[in-house]
């Protein structure tokens, strides 16, 4: 995989945008996982061509959120159907902890840029 590397602006902030490759690699309306160091991150590509990056495993019992259904700004865990908000990671209608979220965007060339 081609990992080019980008920075948000030529400043001294040590965080970087990592290029995870073309958004086309993720099927429309689905999510796939990436491993960033030891962290599993799921990137979702919605039908409106928005991207969200969140912690990959459901805090309830580690359901793989990448295999969940998304839409209307929500993801439904495939294991026991708990819902979370894609933008904030907040639980919807249950007491699980919120999902960790990451800053992510699509570059002008259609690449996924994860800020970490």
């Amino acid at each position: 995989m081609d990992i080019a590397l980008q920075q948000s602006a030529p400043t001294l902030i040590p965080k970087v945008f990592v290029n995870l490759g073309s958004i086309e690699r993720i099927p429309l309306g689905e999510g796939r996982e990436f491993l960033v160091d030891d962290e599993e991150v799921v990137v979702f590509r919605t039908r409106e061509e928005k991207v969200y990056a969140l912690q990959a495993k459901c805090p309830h019992r580690s359901g793989p959120l990448a295999d969940g259904l998304i839409g209307g700004g929500k993801v439904i865990c495939p294991f026991h159907a708990y819902k979370f908000e894609l933008s904030s990671g907040n639980p919807i209608g249950h007491d699980c902890a919120a999902l960790k979220t990451y800053n992510v965007q699509i570059s002008e060339h259609g690449d996924i840029l994860l800020y970490c």
Binding site: A4, L5, I26, P27, E30, E33, P64, G68, I70, G72
Partner: protein
């Protein structure tokens, strides 16, 4: 600004945590900084559901009421896992076992109780209970019992009370051989009279529990671990484990050491304040009020509400006047509700009894001055809610006492709920009172779902939902909003199934996203996607525009996801008939892809479990067999018996027919699963009469076609639709019924429910007599669905997307990258 007071609560159980919730609900966060101590290292959980955890109906995760983050969010300092070892009243400080101390302005003791362990020989090894001896009070107890019971143990429960019997049922479900040993001559002698006790004993025995009455246990046998029990009468019982459930003792040592008045419990007055110290309060099982110590949750809900009213100043004059108690036995497959007195006090009391021993039914009312003083309902507790209302409120009983013993239709009348007192607890899992439901309605929640979401009522075991509905109807005075969504085919598109089908056809909507765009104002609803996909496929067949993101993961990868994210692979084995070469391929594939288990399923085929997602295309290619659709809402299998081919009783070729059915209907989507069977004679070895559709061969070469059978979560014998002469006719009616089901069932409605809803007589008229003139069209549409079939496992060769079977698209190592010089805009 006024300084906040510091409120310290000892005990983070059902009473302690509930009190804090009640205080917060009354705006108490402005008045108090709250500090809690809990001996158990968790948030607060619903202790009464431990019985459910032990018997496997509840997951430990799901019984938590307040998870640890809840405390943080509400600014409550919780010392989790810290026991309070002493209270210094003069210095107004409590000391924790780890050396931590907290000063207080107000102190609440809610330490609950501990199991009572009667003195016996051989109980302990050193300081701790002997290996295999347990009590049943906490989540940790539950966990320890479950682990120890693994592998089919012989278990004894000492104590035949409520808790002992619930423990016995749990152990039974864990696969143990279970013995209940009870000191008295009657099970649950505290609540039940002799006749009810005897009836209960028969029901427990019918369940497989051995009951030993009048047995005083004097010792536990075994050197290192339990091997048996020794009784006072000289007899013994062999067993590998013992659960002691011989009553509870309030945890009062702490209060005693602090010099508070303690009898059986910590003595408090109507203000729930200690009679010795105006700053120390007590609620829950450790509390003694008016001579009473309660061992149930309903009284403690009443206590915490009163104390919260007082402490927050909401109702500074609130007073606790004691509770009337009633209880239910939570033993799967057994209904028992009891309240109040179990016997007449004197000859002025009227006693009404109804008994039907053969069915394990026993009902008894004790009536005093025209009011209910007590009741026992065993085997059929349908009128329990009605009796409870009357008991709690002390209303006059109807002249015709039978109305209170048997469920007559008037329980549906919302007016009956008018007599329920506002304080009555409606939801016993979450402790929700009628008053809370009323205020939720006043706050604008006017549908069942809205009320349940707002109050948590009905979200535990769900058995109180009809009562919540009744109260809702009463409070709305007929203005109930029947959740419109209950009539929708899917929650996210506001149309019933016929309306939705009509709109889809009118606007020619062929994909899920097109439906959202046109019929849901562009708003995607993930929970609606799967149901819509199934319906669109049914309507459009080959013209359907498949969008993979609308499918559940199982249908994206044509396999069933497992708890470790591997998948199970079930190839189709037509009619359960296989061959040696097929079996060899299966064996080789199982080895090559390291199946963790090879299992013969309940559907007459073979399941390879534990296959990685990435390996799915490979294993399908190697198997070279079509998908068995064991993951989909679709036609599943057709079970067969050997029929005329081999069986000496066979009167029809059931195997041949089953194979034809399976080849014709494989992969057909439907609102829920369709499982079929064909059987060669009425002995019915393939269980055709409990299938969605079943064909039974009868003498004379004919076939009976049954529909609407069930043997899953619901059990129902199928109804005879029609009797026909040939295999072809069976295929015809099978297809016709399937298409009717596909068009008319709600999403996730099985055939048994459709058949009950429409009635078999009407179905016969429609599908056999063609009363609506739709048979030809149904036949045509199912043919189109058959023609559109394509084996999904062919996607091994042609995946729909390069990442279809990929979990992880890539890995990056930040440490390496961050060392590089970044370039901008590459």
């Amino acid at each position: 600004m006024l300084r906040k007071q510091k409120l310290v609560v000892i005990g983070n159980g059902m009473a302690g945590a509930r009190l804090v919730e009640d205080i917060l609900a009354r705006g108490g966060a402005d008045k108090f900084d709250v500090v809690m101590f809990g001996d158990e290292p968790y948030g607060n959980y619903n202790r009464i559901l431990l019985s459910g955890v032990l018997s496997g109906t509840h997951d430990p995760q799901d019984i938590f009421i307040n998870s640890l983050p809840w405390y943080e969010e509400n600014n409550i300092k919780l010392h989790a896992g810290i026991r309070v070892s002493s209270i210094d009243r003069a210095g107004k400080t409590v000391y924790g076992s780890n050396g931590v101390s907290e000063s207080y302005d107000k102190l609440v003791i809610a330490t609950g109780s501990s199991p009572f362990v009667p003195p016996m020989d051989g109980l302990k090894n050193g300081d701790s209970l002997k290996d295999g001896v347990f009590v049943f009070r906490t989540l940790d107890d539950c966990d320890a019992i479950t682990k120890y019971a693994e592998g089919g143990k012989r278990a004894a429960v000492i104590g035949g009370g409520l808790l002992g019997l619930e423990a016995a049922r749990g152990l039974l479900n864990l696969g143990a051989e279970v013995h209940v040993v009870h000191l008295m001559g009657n099970l649950m002698d505290v609540q039940l009279d002799a006749q009810a006790g005897a009836s209960l004993r028969r029901s427990m025995e019918a369940m497989g529990v051995s009951v030993h009455l009048n047995k005083a246990t004097t010792g536990i046998l075994g050197d290192d671990c339990v091997t048996g029990l020794q009784f006072k009468d000289g007899s013994t019982l062999d067993c590998d484990m013992v659960v002691i459930s011989a009553g509870i003792r309030p945890n009062v040592q702490l209060a005693k050491d602090a010099g508070l008045t303690v009898e059986r419990g910590i003595v408090v007055n109507d203000h729930l304040v200690s009679v010795d110290d105006a700053d120390i309060f007590s609620v829950g099982e450790c509390t003694q009020h008016n001579g009473m110590v309660y061992g149930l949750v309903a009284p403690l809900w009443e206590q915490t509400a009163v104390l919260a009213d007082r402490l927050t100043g909401r109702k500074a004059a609130a007073a606790y006047k004691g509770s009337k108690i009633s209880t239910k036995l939570k033993v799967m497959g057994l209904e028992l509700a009891v309240m109040g007195a179990k016997e007449a006090r004197d000859e002025n009391d009227e006693v009404v009894v109804y008994a039907e021993p053969s069915r394990g039914i026993y009902k008894k009312l004790v009536v005093r001055n025209g009011q209910l003083a007590g009741a026992i309902l065993l085997g059929d507790a349908a009128t329990a809610p009605l009796l409870l209302q009357s008991f709690d409120r002390g209303t006059e009983l109807p002249e015709n006492r039978a109305e209170m013993l048997f469920s007559l239709s008037r329980t549906d009348d919302p007016m009956t709920f008018a007599y329920v007192p506002d304080t009555a607890q409606i939801c016993n899992c979450n402790g929700v009172s009628k008053a809370q439901i009323l205020s939720a309605v006043q706050a604008g929640h006017r549908s069942l779902k809205a009320v349940c979401d707002a109050t948590r009522a009905g979200t535990g075991c769900g058995s109180c939902k009809s009562q919540v509905q009744g109260i809702l109807e009463l409070a709305c005075e007929g203005q109930v909003e029947t959740d419109p969504a209950t009539h929708y085919y899917v929650p996210g598109v506001p149309l019933s199934k016929p309306e939705l089908i009509a709109a889809i056809k009118e606007y020619q909507l062929k994909s899920v996203s097109a439906v959202f765009a046109v019929l849901a104002a562009g708003k995607e609803d993930p929970a609606s996607k799967v149901g819509l996909a199934s319906l669109l496929k049914t309507i459009w067949h080959e013209e359907y525009e498949d969008e993979r993101d609308a499918r559940f993961i199982n249908d994206r990868v044509h396999a069933n996801i497992q708890n470790d994210r591997t998948f199970s692979v079930v190839p189709r084995i037509y009619g359960g008939v296989t061959s040696s070469s097929e079996l060899r391929r299966i064996a080789d594939a199982a080895d090559k892809y390291q199946a963790r288990m090879i299992k013969i399923t309940g559907g007459q085929r073979i399941d390879l479990l534990g296959i990685k997602k990435e390996d799915l295309p490979g294993i399908w290619r190697d198997l070279d067999m079509p998908s068995g659709h064991a993951y989909a809402k679709s036609f599943r299998t057709c079970k067969t018996c050997v029929g005329t081919e081999f069986c000496r009783y066979g009167v029809g070729d059931s195997t041949g027919l089953g194979i034809k059915i399976e080849k014709r209907f494989q992969g057909i989507e439907s609102p829920h699963k369709m499982k079929l069977a064909t059987t060669g004679c009425p002995r019915n070895c393939a269980e055709a009469t409990i299938k969605d559709i079943g064909a039974v061969a009868i003498e004379g070469g004919r076939w009976e076609i049954y529909v609407g059978g069930a043997a899953g979560a619901h059990v129902r014998k199928a109804d005879l639709l029609v009797t026909v002469d040939t295999h072809d006719e069976v295929l015809l009616y099978t297809g016709r019924f399937m298409q009717y089901y596909r068009e008319n069932a709600k999403y996730l409605e099985r055939t048994w429910s459709l058949v009950e809803r429409i009635s078999i007589e009407k179905l016969r008229r429609i599908l056999v007599d063609d009363s609506e003139g739709i048979c030809a069209r149904l036949d045509q549409d199912i043919q189109a669905a058959v023609d559109a079939y394509r084996d999904p496992w062919q996607e091994a060769i042609e995946p729909v997307h390069p990442a279809q079977f990929v979990n992880t698209l890539g890995a990056v190592t930040l440490t390496q990258i961050q060392g590089l010089q970044p370039s901008y805009g590459d």
